[in-house]
């Protein structure tokens, strides 16, 4: 009955055999005639770090706010720790939330910010003191307790915001783009801190961001969203290596994936990828379903999976002719832009390799690590 310490009424079971920590079922939200969320289903396991990733307007914040209870869905249910909380107020859902603008109470000290909610709830002051002390210790806020938010740096403010969620002694933490207001360096630092926090505390965390680097580094699983629909829900490496559709493929990875327009042509032992004047055998490629000749496709291959020049390299296709267009040095690597059969591709090479514009080169593709997408639907083939 109590498979993970609570009564699970959500009706769902995760891969590990236990009930989900958070379960979203059939959730939809419309503003008038505009549908922002389309019948979403999402199950998050206990202690999992789940990232909702997508561009502005894809519905990720909306989904988070619905889980939190700050927005009402037009349809659907939310279960937290097995309990149906669809009609509960945010404070009764067992969640803590961290906001993009930190939303600290500006006229109160850090200590009061942390304890205010607890005081309002009527907790005994000994308990409050203990919780505040614990949060301060975990987040290194002890020297800052008597300061006001205006006297704190962005990174410190964000830690206080996290602390405010921490003192609530809840199991689920929600993060709404918490690092977006920080500069790049601070973002990188706090990213590491959040990951460390998750390792130490082990709580379920749902994290919204538009930054794919944050998603890749922090997540146990990523839900890539677009226009209110979850495009793919998988572990980061799976999303990176086997994106489910053209959109996900183009969104993840920096520098971004190359896309080549082509067509499937018959061949043996495997079908060929037919460009205008080049044909690449797809021997190493593992399709979802058998490929059909004549299909218009987009061939997606990441810059690091192109090989320039000849030389030993297993797993690559036969070399193809190309001309260097320009070179972008990026420090340890360089990005070489090539013209191949009338299309433009980028290849990542080590900086030690030198290339000059208009230089002819041979290009090889690691087809086994590439992706094929139907040109019309964008789905992975």
């Amino acid at each position: 009955m109590n498979d993970n310490g609570y009564l699970n009424t959500s009706g769902r079971v995760m891969a590990n055999g236990k009930g989900p920590s958070v379960s979203v079922q059939g959730m939809a939200l419309s503003y008038g005639s505009i549908k922002v969320l389309h019948e979403l289903d999402l199950d998050i396991a206990d202690g999992e770090f789940l990232v909702l990733l997508g561009p502005s307007g894809c519905g990720k914040s909306t989904l988070l706010n619905c889980i939190a209870g700050l927005l009402e869905p037009s349809q659907g249910k939310v279960f937290i720790k097995g309990k149906n909380v669809t009609w509960e107020e945010p404070k009764d859902r067992g969640i803590g939330m961290v906001f993009q603008s930190y939303a600290l109470y500006p006229q109160m000290t850090v200590e009061r910010n942390l304890s205010f909610g607890l005081r309002v709830a009527g907790l005994p002051s000994a308990e409050i003191k203990q919780r505040v002390a614990r949060a301060a210790e975990v987040l290194q806020l002890e020297p800052l307790l008597q300061r006001k938010p205006t006297a704190l740096s962005g990174g410190q403010r964000q830690r206080v915001a996290i602390g405010r969620a921490l003192v609530r002694d809840v199991d689920v933490f929600l993060f709404d783009e918490p690092l977006s207001n920080l500069d790049a360096k601070l973002r990188a630092e706090l990213r590491v801190e959040i990951k460390r926090l998750h390792q130490r505390l082990g709580n379920t965390m749902i994290y919204v961001t538009h930054d794919q680097i944050e998603a890749l580094t922090l997540a146990d699983r990523i839900a890539v969203m677009k226009s209110g629909v979850i495009q793919q829900l998988d572990e980061p490496l799976t999303i990176y290596n086997r994106p489910r559709n053209r959109y996900v493929a183009g969104f993840i990875g920096s520098p971004s994936m190359n896309f080549v327009k082509a067509r499937i042509s018959a061949g043996s032992p495997a079908p060929n990828l037919q460009l205008s004047s080049i044909s690449i055998p797809l021997t190493d490629y593992v399709p979802v379903q058998p490929l059909v000749a004549g299909t218009d496709v987009e061939f997606g291959v990441r810059p690091e999976h192109l090989r320039l020049g000849t030389g030993p390299d297993e797993g690559s296709s036969e070399p193809v002719d190309a001309v260097v267009d320009l070179v972008e040095p990026m420090g340890s690597d360089s990005l070489v832009w090539l013209k191949v059969d009338g299309q433009v591709l980028s290849a990542r090479v080590e900086s030690s390799q030198r290339f000059a514009p208009d230089q002819p080169v041979k290009v090889r593709f690691r087809v086994g690590l590439a992706s094929l997408f139907d040109a019309a639907s964008g789905d992975r083939l």
């Binding site: 699970n8 079971v13 349809q75 909380v85």
Partner: protein, 305 residues
């Protein structure tokens, strides 16, 4: 999973799903809208009383009270207020004051806005040494009670021979409109992209050309706000009207006060109320027509108070 289903039963009592059901008639809503409506009544009551009183005949007024609606509607008080009410000197009603107010307001609005907008423009884009000092004086001066500056202005106007004339009053309104209007225009021009101005200067345009061909066309909203502020403020003014005019050039507000408060003998309440409404019609019309701009004008004019 089966256990969960057993506990709930299949299709048991309604499981929470979708938006939380809430009735429009919740206690919260009742209190909220109730309070709002009660307060609205308090605000509307005087207007109602004004209208209702102005449409009754005098016998009916004496019998009833201020809140009772008219049994017999008559527009006679209105006609009387406009055309024949006596203000001590002459008996041609409010119409005299109305046209005076018109003759005061229109030039005052135009002159004050023209001068203030050019001054604001000068302060925003063509700063020269000492300009800020005068501007600060203006702003500080807007807090100073008018009473302190009234008599010196009387002297100045007498010297240039405009005391008691409409144009004298126009000058007064311009003077006292300067602080808030200049601030308004200056802040607005400062908020316009400076690249536009720089590009024009590079092209060789000078002070006046830039003002008329670039700044003014882009400033329509702020001109509207300024006009609303000035039309309302000047039309409603009483203090300056009473000091700087002669009975012949009294604006409507002064006349109104005379009609109501300085009449001996029988008080004709219905005529008084009709006269009051007529005086309030112009600014009210401006208010209702301008909506959003009025609020913006308040926010800006609020700096002066």
């Amino acid at each position: 999973m089966a256990i969960a289903e057993t506990l709930l039963g299949n299709g048991s009592a309604r499981e929470p799903s979708g938006p939380k059901p809430k009735s429009s008639l919740s206690p919260r809503n009742i209190m909220l809208y109730g309070t709002l409506i009660v307060v609205a009544v308090y605000y509307l009551l005087p207007l109602y009383v004004m209208v209702v009183t102005s449409l009754k005949g005098m016998p009916e007024i004496r019998l009833g009270n201020v809140f009772s609606p008219p049994v017999e509607i008559t527009f006679e008080p209105w006609v009387k207020a406009w055309a024949t009410a006596c203000t001590g000197l002459n008996c041609d009603g409010l119409s005299h004051g109305f046209w005076n107010s018109v003759r005061i307001t229109i030039p005052s609005v135009i002159v004050s806005i023209m001068i203030a907008s050019v001054s604001g423009y000068s302060l925003a884009n063509w700063r020269f040494r000492g300009a800020e000092i005068f501007f600060t004086i203006l702003i500080v001066g807007s807090f100073v009670p008018y009473q302190v500056m009234i008599y010196p202005i009387v002297i100045v106007l007498r010297e240039i021979g405009l005391y008691g004339s409409l144009w004298g009053l126009v000058i007064v309104h311009t003077i006292f409109g300067m602080p808030i209007l200049t601030l308004l225009f200056r802040n607005y021009f400062v908020s316009l992209p400076v690249e536009l101005f720089k590009a024009a200067r590079v092209d060789g345009a000078g002070f006046w050309r830039i003002y008329f061909q670039i700044m003014m066309p882009m400033s329509l909203p702020i001109f509207v706000v300024a006009m609303i502020l000035q039309v309302t403020g000047i039309w409603n003014d009483f203090l300056f009207g009473v000091i700087y005019t002669k009975p012949d050039t009294y604006p409507m507000t002064v006349q109104l006060n005379n009609i109501v408060n300085s009449v001996q003998g029988v008080k004709e309440y219905n005529v008084n109320m009709a006269a009051t409404i007529i005086t309030g019609l112009v600014p009210l019309a401006v208010y209702f027509l301008s909506g959003r701009y009025f609020v913006r004008g308040i926010a800006a004019g609020a700096v002066k108070g």
